[in-house]
């Protein structure tokens, strides 16, 4: 089904469907998403608000909040090369042990991701205790100092005793990273980690994540709509639109040679780090209503290359070594699969 990537996969998503059952109707939030992430790489999910990036990431540990439900699909996790676990078949307790321990998250807004009633040390300790990495809260708090040193927190001995309101935005962000890394996870999912902090902290955080990635052998899944960040951090990029991956390619290909009309439009809408500054263009139309998504290619109502065939769901076409795109424009090229 998915591309043969000739890499050591760490997680593989096959044909994932997620629906949200709301009063207004069934929201088809994720509609047949497949991808493979290689061990040790940084994989980016980009797209507009509401395109399903966060839901996809949460589906990796089945952490979709109600009323959402995973309808179909498989998530195969390879904790070690050659060993595989099907996340969809695990019991609640087994999945809990994977969350945080194997696959960890960094949330968007560090100040609301911390419980105001507890110190930073308590948070870190709690995470380790939940995965039985320390014997008691007190041991955990001692261990937390070491964790905070790893994320380059200034004055870690004092900061473990600090409550969230006593920390600055950057310190909170580092603390949150510390919580996620305290269990030494294999995969770190950073869900728009830079949206709520200012640019200097963004830069600090990104260099921190890069360092940690090389020192701890992390696989990083970065969810963002910041194209600059994508260019800076990612190895491979998946562009999502209305619950589907429309294009997936190594980072340079995305910027140099975008294929999907949506990707092109998206790149024209933000300053492109690889080309000269030009006038930014907006994409006409609005994000489709996912209760009644457009037939066929979900981008067709906004697409300048619209054609009758677009009313049929486009399969993924391979347009480069590691470059696939779901658009009929590339129908002449060798087809990868029949979606």
């Amino acid at each position: 089904m998915s591309l043969s990537l000739e890499c050591d996969p760490i997680i593989e998503v096959r044909d994932l469907y997620v629906n949200f059952y709301t009063y207004a109707g069934v929201v088809k939030a994720i509609d047949g998403v497949s991808f493979t992430i290689c061990r040790g790489e940084t994989y980016c999910l980009v797209g507009e608000t509401g395109c399903g990036k966060t839901v996809t990431a949460k589906a990796l540990t089945r952490a979709i909040p109600s009323p959402g439900r995973i309808e179909k699909g498989e998530v195969i996790f390879y904790p070690e090369p050659g060993k595989s676990v099907n996340i969809m078949e695990l019991s609640d307790e087994e999945i809990r042990r994977i969350r945080g321990k194997m696959i960890s998250y960094i949330f968007q807004d560090p100040s609301s991701a911390l419980d105001p009633l507890y110190t930073l040390g308590h948070h870190i300790s709690e995470t380790m205790l939940a995965h039985k990495l320390v014997r008691s809260m007190r041991d955990g708090i001692r261990e937390a100092v070491r964790v905070l040193k790893r994320v380059l927190m200034p004055d870690p001995e004092e900061r473990v005793k600090s409550y969230p309101h006593e920390l600055s935005g950057g310190m909170k962000q580092r603390g949150v990273v510390g919580i996620s890394l305290s269990t030494k996870p294999k995969i770190l999912i950073a869900d728009e980690p830079t949206t709520a902090v200012d640019v200097t902290i963004q830069a600090q955080l990104m260099s921190l994540l890069k360092d940690l990635k090389s020192s701890e052998g992390l696989t990083l899944i970065l969810i963002t709509h910041n194209m600059g960040l994508v260019a800076e951090m990612c190895d491979r990029v998946a562009v999502m639109y209305a619950g589907r991956i429309v294009e997936e390619a190594p980072v340079l290909d995305i910027f140099k040679n975008p294929r999907h009309p949506y990707t092109r439009a998206l790149l024209k809408a933000v300053p492109n780090p690889l080309s000269k500054i030009h006038r930014l263009e907006s994409i006409p139309g609005t994000i489709p209503d996912l209760i009644k998504p457009p037939k066929g290619c979900r981008f067709h109502p906004r697409c300048p290359y619209f054609n009758e065939i677009c009313l049929k769901k486009p399969p993924e076409f391979k347009v480069g070594a590691k470059h696939r795109v779901a658009c009929w424009l590339y129908g002449g090229v060798e087809s990868v699969n029949e979606g």
Binding site: R99, G100, S104, Q108, D109, S112, A113, D115, T127, A130
Partner: protein
């Protein structure tokens, strides 16, 4: 604006708060070294909360009333001039429906002296006596104990059931929530008092078996209520009131907590905790419950008074404590027969109930002001300005 820190003008009560809190902190420091430095912020915050409380005259009145009630309830049985079941008519005919301030005489060698061991001499019945000549003051003092113990036993269990069910319902949502809430609705649909009447009318026989079957249970209860061992029988009725109140007292809490848990679970830190694999019961007890504890605490305090009132009402209807057990509601019930001639039998227990319930309500109201961030700011400002 002044600098933050020790600049606000302190009242006498604030200084007392300082001394008490610091003493407690230094004791904890001895037990667990390093505690004080770790909890510096918490101590400061706690003091500020108490300062804010000190700025509320009704709150202070409430605290005074409640403190007096607790002292009376704890010490009452030891300072009462007579036992709660001593029929003083055996000593002196005048004790029959004695009015407040009446003096009775116990004669040397009389039945009272020889059998009941009451020293000969003159006794003033400060609050009068009932138709058996039982000293009303003594019975009110013992009755305080009854009220307090019933209230504590009810509040230990009923709200706990409600809080746990509410947490689960609110956090889980879906069918679990639907089921638990409809069950709660069923209980709320009946007026609590009626339901309690039904249960306390049905339960005593079964309860009596338990109370009398397990000597430990009855011994503990007798000590708590400060009763004589021969009064195990009437105890069953009192216990059945407690059980009846357990049954009717949880739905309010279930609903309150469910609503708050529902909004608390949407906090990002709850989601974050789930995403990093914190077990559900930790999330419930460490992240959700502490974050909604303020309103629960207010509710508990207000309910303390309500339980005392309902228990007195049940006794007044003849369902709770049975004579000779001293209980304010029951004293009013028995005294009503002689009203208005023996008005004191109705007036004093009623007054006591009123004051105690008023005290708890005042404390609850003030706690609400202190815990609610919106009113809290205003009070805090008063503290900082020194008013």
């Amino acid at each position: 604006m002044e600098e933050r820190g020790e600049v606000y003008e302190k009242k006498l009560l604030d200084r007392i708060v300082d001394i008490v809190v610091d003493r407690v902190a230094s004791v904890l420091e001895i037990v667990r070294p390093g505690w004080r430095t770790r909890n510096e912020a918490r101590i400061e915050e706690f003091k500020l909360t108490l300062y804010a409380f000190n700025r509320s005259p009704p709150g202070l009145l409430g605290v005074t009333l409640v403190t007096l009630f607790v002292i009376v309830a704890v010490l009452g049985p030891y300072i009462a001039p007579f036992s709660y079941d001593m029929p003083l008519v055996l000593c002196d005919q005048n004790a029959y429906l004695a009015s407040p301030g009446k003096v009775i005489t116990v004669r040397e060698g009389s039945l009272c002296h020889q059998v009941y061991g009451i020293k000969p001499g003159n006794y003033t019945l400060i609050l009068g006596a009932d138709d058996y000549g039982r000293d009303l003051l003594s019975r009110i003092l013992y009755g305080a104990r009854t009220s307090l113990v019933v209230a504590i036993l009810v509040m230990l269990v009923g709200p706990l059931i409600g809080i746990l069910l509410g947490l689960v319902a609110g956090y889980r949502g879906g069918y679990v929530d639907e089921f638990l809430m409809r069950l709660t609705d069923v209980f709320i649909a009946f007026p609590g008092l009626i339901l309690a009447i039904a249960f306390s009318a049905v339960l005593p026989d079964r309860i009596a078996g338990v109370v009398e079957g397990y000597p430990i249970v009855s011994r503990i209860l007798l000590t708590l209520f400060s009763l004589k061992p021969e009064h195990v029988g009437p105890l069953a009725n009192l216990v059945s009131v407690i059980v009846a109140l357990w049954i009717v007292w949880w739905p309010g809490y279930a609903r309150l907590v469910r609503g708050m848990a529902l909004s608390a679970r949407e906090n990002v830190y709850v989601e974050a905790a789930r995403a990093i694999g914190v077990p559900t019961h930790w999330i419930l007890l460490r992240h959700i419950l502490p974050n909604i504890s303020g309103p629960i605490l207010v509710f508990l305090t207000l309910d303390f008074g309500a339980v005392i009132l309902v228990e007195a009402s049940l006794s007044f209807l003849g369902l709770g404590a049975v004579p000779p057990i001293a209980d304010w509601g029951r004293i009013v019930y028995d005294g009503a027969e002689y009203f208005p001639r023996a008005w004191w039998l109705v007036f004093f227990p009623g007054l006591m109930t009123l004051l105690v319930v008023l005290g708890f309500n005042l404390v609850g109201d003030t706690l609400r002001d202190v815990f609610d961030p919106r009113t809290r700011r205003r009070i805090e400002f008063k503290v900082k300005r020194g008013r």
